[in-house]
Amino acid sequence: MTYVITKPCIGTKDNSCVEVCPVDCIHPRPDEPGYEEVEHLHIDPEQCIDCDACVEACPVDACFAEDQVPTEYARYTQVNAAYFAQ
């Protein structure tokens, strides 16, 4: 499985998830190129260990386990994966 960052992150990019992700799989970090440009953060599905840390940390409830993503945000699963496929 993986976790997915969805729409509520847009305009928020709070980074709490980056601070707690135990495997550093959320990008871009504030110190990485492209941070200012992206609308929201992304979880690398190849690296995510499904630990739930981002869900607990997120102040705007943007993170979901892949099988719990609300239907209206379904496309974000693909959007997260595509960011790392570049």
Binding site: E19, C21, D24, I49, D52, A53, C54, E56, D61, A65
Partner: protein, 469 residues
């Protein structure tokens, strides 16, 4: 200290404990984003021959994806400034003064070694266990491998409503075939194969809205092969206080989602599967019953009261008795006193400000820092320790910047290793751990298991020595 943190004079830091908080502290020091040119030597000590703390000894065997977090720690360990000294116990093999003789700073990352007690009659009857001992036992921790649990009774009771309680309920009900694909300790696999437990009752002191399970752990309980999860519909009808709490948003998403999950469980009804997990809420144990060993548990019904904004469980006169042959209490871990450090008996932690140890007289203990559970208490998940460690390392590096670091008598790794050769000739280096790791993985391979753990100190030391031959 001028020019500390350079090639000529690296900053030397000892970390006591190699669990997640210790490793994140090491990682933040060795790959500091704020001080990219800092030269650091990090010496990590563990009382066990193996690293990774609760990732090896706590995370349930059927959670291999979570254990994959260790790849991050392996990467940290490959840094040239990193050394591991396993089978070296703080307070036995090395003491406070030893570490401060050879390091500029010492970070205690020892976690919380013991459990909290219930304080009720019968707690010490045979058959009454801290969940921590069961967890250590099924994970092959050398301290617990000799324990003998009796699973010959049809019902077990687990006291607590957190993820450890969920782990225990799952481990007691997982089908043998699934458990046999994990890295569960061999002795536990054999003993659990003979288990006659049919039902595990999990007791929560407060209501379903206050349960401390994370969503995935609670979801998992409802998805175990051939196990019914049973919730009384009356238990998930929320009391007015809890409903208000949920609706005002004072409760987080996790609590709201937990309620949804539990309401779905309540609607399922039993399906006659091989085993059952029964989740009970608003009940507290008042006594363990039995003559020579546990035969039952008396519980009382609780009600929630609003006390200054937080909902407290208060006991009522309604009681009942549940027959059971074994009880696991999972109501929290607790830290223990460490040589040379102040200790807060109430919280079971080392008093600190942002990770800087603070003595009894409220003055700073220069050179002493804490991370993880011994710093903030036994809460949070693995990732919580990453942010926690960042705070401590930020404090340490700010102290370095401010020159607020005491110069040790002999800040040299050679001198430390001379001491270890004398005090602890059987210590295990990182290469020794890699030999253990290789041996365990190879042993598991023919059976399609991730590893078969070595579970005695002797076996582990033998495997660690093998690399030399």
């Amino acid at each position: 200290v001028p020019s500390l943190g350079t090639d000529k004079q690296p900053l030397r830091v000892a970390i006591v404990g190699s669990g997640p908080s210790g490793f994140y502290a090491a990682g933040h020091l060795l790959n500091s984003r704020s001080h990219p040119d800092l030269r650091v030597e990090v010496d990590v000590f563990d009382r066990l021959p193996t690293p990774w703390g609760l990732v090896r000894g706590g995370v349930a065997p059927d959670h291999p994806n979570i254990k994959a977090v260790s790849r991050v720690y392996e990467k940290i360990a490959r840094h040239s400034g990193f050394r591991f000294y396993g089978n070296v116990e703080y307070g036995r093999d090395v003491g406070y003064d030893d570490l401060h003789t050879h390091h500029h700073a010492v970070i205690y990352a020892v976690g919380a070694r013991t459990d909290r007690r219930l304080g009720i009659p019968g707690e010490d009857l045979p058959g009454s266990w801290p969940a921590t001992e069961l967890v250590g036992w099924y994970n092959g921790h050398p301290d617990y491998r000799h324990l003998e649990f009796d699973f010959s009774c049809p019902r077990a009771v687990v006291i607590g409503n957190g993820n450890v309680a969920a782990d225990v309920a799952r481990m007691l009900t997982l089908p043998h075939a699934e458990l046999a694909q994990t890295d569960v300790a061999e002795h536990a696999l054999a003993a659990l194969a003979e288990s006659r437990i049919e039902e595990v009752v999990v007791l929560g002191r407060r209501g379903p809205a206050q349960a401390a399970f994370t969503n995935p752990e609670l979801l998992e309980l409802g998805a175990i092969t051939d196990v019914d999860v049973v919730v009384d519909p009356r238990d998930v009808e929320l009391d007015p206080l809890s409903r208000e709490w949920l609706e005002t948003g004072a409760a987080g998403t996790v609590a709201r989602k937990n309620i949804e999950i539990l309401q779905e469980y309540a609607s399922r009804g039993p399906q006659g599967k091989r085993r059952r997990i029964v989740l009970r809420f608003l009940v507290s144990p008042i006594a363990l019953l039995g003559d020579k060993r546990v035969e039952g548990i008396r519980i009382c019904r609780n009600e929630l009261r609003d006390e200054g904004g937080s909902l407290r469980a208060c006991s009522t006169d309604a009681t009942e008795t549940i027959d059971c042959g074994v009880v696991f209490r999972s109501i929290g871990y607790r830290g223990v006193l460490l040589e040379g450090l102040p200790f807060d008996e109430r919280t079971g932690t080392v008093p600190n400000e942002e990770g800087r140890v603070v003595g009894e007289d409220a003055t700073r203990r220069r050179g002493d820092y804490v991370v993880g559970w011994i710093k903030r208490g036994p809460t949070g998940i693995i990732g919580t320790n990453k942010r926690d460690a960042q705070q401590t390392i930020d404090a340490l590096l700010a102290d370095l910047q401010a020159g607020d670091i005491v110069a040790p008598a002999e800040p040299s790794r050679e001198a430390l290793e001379e001491l270890l050769a004398e005090r602890s000739p059987d210590h295990v280096t990182y290469a020794g751990w890699e030999a253990i790791d290789r041996r365990e993985r190879e042993a598991g391979e023919p059976y399609g298991r991730p590893r078969i753990k070595l579970t005695t100190t002797e076996e582990l030391l033998d495997a660690a020595r093998e690399r030399v031959g």
